[in-house]
């Protein structure tokens, strides 16, 4: 086998890790190294240390421990049947890279994933060893995200959760049937069981013992997962249905949607398309509406007959255009629940409207100052000095927001 330098390995193993969308470093316990004996801090909010030209934030050193893998998942660049270059980091190499990058303020911490080598247990145990060494020997107090191998033994997951800030297990595809087709070695039921296990351990770690002592926190930044969008035929209703089940069942912090993107040496079973980035964007918007805006799944996905989101306009606007009877809303009277449904109003804008109107009537120009996007909202609200008149019900309202139709190319 070829001997690679650290730099060559880093190139191979970061290239292999780029298909994991998550790079969050937020929401963990607050801690610092002021006392002078350790390195690193975590202050709740995440920090993006750089952005790549794909628009994605680089917050963590996101690498694979190895890209050798015994699984054969068609969508994955690291599947056993692919001919990409393979490499493997030693435990010490990962630890040194993480610490060296952290000291130079390049990263918030480590996101470690891995192909499955030898067995799931052996792989997971190497990953846990890296986390243990960082925490115990290097006194590292930065962020650690471990991708959990779903089949790995529960004891390993138990230790991983005590060392890492976040654990994640990818559900990979929106339906069990799609997983069976594209990731034959993975068992969706096993993935759910592992997520249930993480949730229960997290819950247990919150309960005080009879002496009142609190056990160590388990995965304080929670667990997350990733679903590939566009590799199978699932529509958006199926995808979002799966995510609401994951959020409610396993208390996930995030479900990441990853538009299926061309990979080097792709499988013949899965022809390459350019990644459906707009669809991914709409799914995230819908995900937010479900979690923070009080929308029900059916409200969002019933907008189009095929159960997909409207790609041209955002899901809240699409919903509002279909329910114009509820609008225009008087911003000085409407409830918080209804204000959250106004296109162009975010949770912060709504909070500001509510706090201001306790003292005085809110005027049109106030809302713009509060951060509302009036281009969208104006058709759906009345405020001091503003009434949309016939605008709310005008036939061309949708056309004002949707991008103009494109002339097809002759070539």
């Amino acid at each position: 086998m070829v001997q690679y330098s650290t730099q060559q390995k880093l190139a191979i193993l970061s290239d292999a890790a780029k298909y994991d969308a998550s790079c969050a470093s937020s929401g963990s316990t607050k801690r610092d190294s002021r006392a002078g004996k350790s390195l690193g801090s975590n202050e709740g909010s995440g920090i993006c240390h750089a952005y790549a030209p794909d628009g994605r934030c680089i917050s963590l050193l996101k690498i694979l421990m190895t890209n050798f893998c015994i699984y054969d998942c068609t969508y994955c660049v690291n599947r056993v049947s692919s001919n990409v270059a393979r490499a493997r980091f030693s435990v010490d190499e990962v630890v040194k890279l993480t610490i060296d990058f952290y000291r130079r303020n390049y990263i918030e911490g480590l996101f470690l994933s891995s192909g499955v080598i030898r067995s799931p247990d052996a792989t997971m145990s190497d990953m846990v060893q890296i986390a243990r060494k960082l925490r115990k020997e290097e006194n590292f107090r930065g962020y650690i995200h471990l991708k959990t191998i779903p089949d790995a033994a529960p004891e390993l997951i138990a230790e991983a959760g005590l060392l890492a800030d976040r654990l994640s297990i990818n559900v990979e595809l929106p339906t069990d049937a799609a997983v069976a087709r594209h990731a034959p070695e993975k068992d969706p039921a096993q993935i759910r069981k592992a997520m249930a296990d993480v949730r229960l351990r997290k819950q247990e770690a919150r309960e005080r013992s009879f002496t009142g002592k609190r056990p160590p926190r388990f995965a304080p930044a929670g667990q997350s997962t990733q679903m590939i969008v566009g590799a199978d035929g699932s529509n958006d209703a199926t995808i979002l249905g799966q995510s609401t089940r994951l959020y409610s069942g396993y208390k996930l912090k995030r479900v990441y949607y990853s538009a299926f993107s061309p990979i080097p040496d792709s499988s013949a079973k899965l022809p390459l398309i350019s990644p459906p980035l707009q669809r991914e964007h709409r799914l995230y918007q819908a995900d937010w509406l479900l979690r923070f805006y009080g929308f029900d799944l059916a409200e969002i996905t019933s907008v189009t007959p095929d159960g997909n989101l409207d790609l041209e306009i955002d899901p809240k606007l699409a919903w509002a255009l279909q329910h114009r009877g509820l609008f225009p809303l008087d911003v000085n009277r409407a409830s918080r629940e209804m204000l959250l449904r106004v296109p162009g109003f975010g949770t912060k804008t709504v909070g500001r409207i509510l706090s201001t109107r306790r003292h005085r009537a809110v005027r049109y120009e106030d809302i713009a100052r509060m951060g509302g996007s009036m281009k969208k909202a104006r058709a759906f609200v009345t405020a001091g000095g503003w009434s949309p008149g016939a605008l709310t019900d005008s036939a061309d309202l949708r056309a004002r927001f949707a991008p103009p139709p494109e002339q097809l190319s002759l070539l």
């Binding site: 730099q7 880093l10 190139a11 191979i12 970061s14 290239d15 780029k18 610092d32 190294s33 002021r34 002078g36 801090s41 993006c48 750089a50 952005y51 790549a52 030209p53 794909d54 628009g55 934030c57 893998c69 015994i70 699984y71 056993v80 049947s81 001919n83 990058f101 000291r103 130079r104 303020n105 030898r118 089949d151 070695e185 039921a189 096993q190 759910r192 592992a194 997520m195 249930a196 229960l200 089940r245 959020y247 069942g249 396993y250 538009a259 061309p262 080097p264 040496d265 792709s266 350019s274 990644p275 009080g294 799944l297 500001r352 201001t356 003292h359 005085r360 106030d366 100052r369 509060m370």
Partner: protein, 498 residues
């Protein structure tokens, strides 16, 4: 009033408090920062307290950020707003007020600048990497005066090393955990750092050329920061080459799988997961059951639990949230209530086989919660073979049916529960079924109606006692037992097991 460049936040706060106490209106003051020449009133000391002033805490936080803005009018703006705040303290919550909106915008600018400083400062090692305390230094050009308010962040983060951040204005040095601020240090010549090459390699390779979104990058990482970030030099080439790389990936013909595939798959087949517990045929079959759609949404099938030769079998409706997560029956709130009442009547819980009519959890996801939904007839029917198999396997003397779903699944009759509770019905196979409430019903009525709840609980308790009594090995039953009198028509029971 002259505000110094270092310690501006405290200086402004003290000065403003003094002026406010002396009732000096904003028009009578000229605030000077480092950018403006000293004014006529410059250096004027603030005289003693004339009157106590109180300021909303939220204003102090706002001012604590706005003072670091580069706008020369920042001190005056803050004081003018503070002056208005004296008479209208609620002004802080009026997000439509133009003055406040301006201050909030400035605050946001400063916060963003601080955030970008935390993100984009790039240290180079300047000392011996083997030293007990390693030393690092960086050159950074912030938009606002953010070095002082952000220095603490770096001190909290890099506790075990010394570091310096030089900027065109204020620079900060941290040695042995102590911070020092210096004015107008020249730009230092920092030595090359080998880790930088690794970092650029990482940056180049984590980029996905198939998802080029340059605007998303530049809006978060504006070009003004690029000159001090080693990785930024790689950006133009990454952008230029991206379309061709994406095209090449799409056009490349699929290759033949390498030779190691077979070996790897053989290895995969050998692995036995530590999650696979029971290999009993029935368990395995139920686990892979797809007879109704419930398996798609549930975590796992929840099997019955208890001794396979139990005399009493208890059948509930379906697993709940916790049962679904743990894979064990009767562990949720309803199960705990069942256990509590069982203890009260002396029912030996570990001698009982407990299971559910339906093996998968049916629910509706609502926000962060899973709302229980009763299984419908088709789902109960789909699950019936598993329940029948369990009954055949355990062959209990009596089955206790908890609630309507269990009663329907066991007897095939959907008659209302109210009339059937406390009575024994007989299945086609001759097994006796005692029908009672589901414990979740007791939990539901608990909060609504105290009296009904007490009645229901007493009835449930009686039923459990009756069930337990009925399955006791028949000895010479004491006549006129105070707790239980045998009903008139005792169903034929099979030979008791010992």
């Amino acid at each position: 009033m002259q505000i110094p460049r270092i310690g501006a936040a405290e200086a402004w706060r003290d000065a403003a408090r003094g002026f406010l106490q002396q009732n000096i209106p904003p028009e009578a003051l000229i605030w000077g920062g480092a950018e403006t020449a000293p004014d006529l009133f410059g250096g004027g000391s603030v005289r003693g307290a004339a009157r106590q002033v109180s300021v909303p805490r939220s204003f102090l936080a706002l001012a604590g950020s706005v003072v670091w803005h580069t706008d020369p009018a920042r001190f005056a703006r803050l004081y003018a707003f503070l002056w208005r705040l004296r008479d209208t303290p609620h002004l802080m919550t009026d997000r439509g007020d133009p003055d406040l909106a301006t201050l909030r915008r400035m605050e946001k600018n400063v916060h963003r600048c601080q955030h970008k400083m935390k993100a984009f400062v790039r240290f180079r090692e300047i000392g011996d990497p083997k030293a007990a305390r390693r030393s690092f230094a960086a050159w950074f050009e912030p938009t606002h005066h953010t070095v002082e308010p952000t220095a603490q962040f770096f001190a909290r983060r890099f506790g075990d090393m010394d570091w310096r951040i030089y900027t065109p204005g204020i620079s900060v040095l941290c040695e042995g955990g102590r911070l020092r601020f210096l004015k107008d240090c020249p730009r230092p010549d920092l030595p090359e750092d080998a880790s930088e090459q690794l970092w650029v390699t990482y940056f180049q390779n984590i980029f996905n050329p198939a998802r080029l979104k340059v605007k998303a990058m530049t809006s978060e990482m504006p070009k003004k920061y690029w000159k001090n970030m080693p990785e930024a030099a790689a950006i133009p080439e990454l952008i230029a080459a991206a379309p061709a790389r994406a095209r090449a990936m799409a056009q490349a013909a699929p290759t033949l799988p390498p030779a190691r595939v077979k070996q790897a798959q053989a290895q995969q087949a050998r692995f036995a997961s530590s999650w696979t517990q029971d290999s009993a045929a029935l368990v395995a079959e139920v686990n892979s059951c797809t007879r109704c759609p419930l398996h798609c949404a549930a975590t796992q099938a929840v099997h019955g639990a208890g001794p396979p030769d139990a005399r009493l079998m208890v059948v509930g409706e379906q697993p709940g949230d916790l049962e679904d997560l743990q894979g064990l029956p009767f562990v949720g709130p309803a199960g705990q209530l069942f256990d509590a009442v069982a203890r009260e009547v002396g029912l030996a819980r570990d001698a009982v086989y407990v299971t559910n009519a339906v093996k998968h959890f049916k629910y509706r996801a609502r926000g962060r919660r899973r709302i229980h939904q009763s299984p419908d007839r088709s789902e109960i029917a789909a699950c019936a073979p598993w329940l029948e198999e369990e009954i055949r396997h355990v062959s209990p003397r009596l089955i206790l049916a908890l609630g309507a779903t269990a009663a329907f699944a066991l007897t095939g009759s959907a008659a209302p529960l109210a009339q059937r509770r406390g009575r024994v019905e007989r299945r086609a196979d001759g097994v006796a079924v005692l029908i009672t409430y589901h414990p979740s019903y007791l939990l539901r009525v608990q909060d609504k109606d105290k009296e009904a709840a007490a009645q229901a609980r007493a009835a449930f308790r009686g039923d459990l006692a009756q069930a337990w009594e009925r399955v006791q090995p028949r000895q010479l039953a004491p006549r006129g037992s105070p707790t239980y009198t045998r009903p008139q028509r005792q169903p034929e029971l099979r030979t008791p097991k010992l």
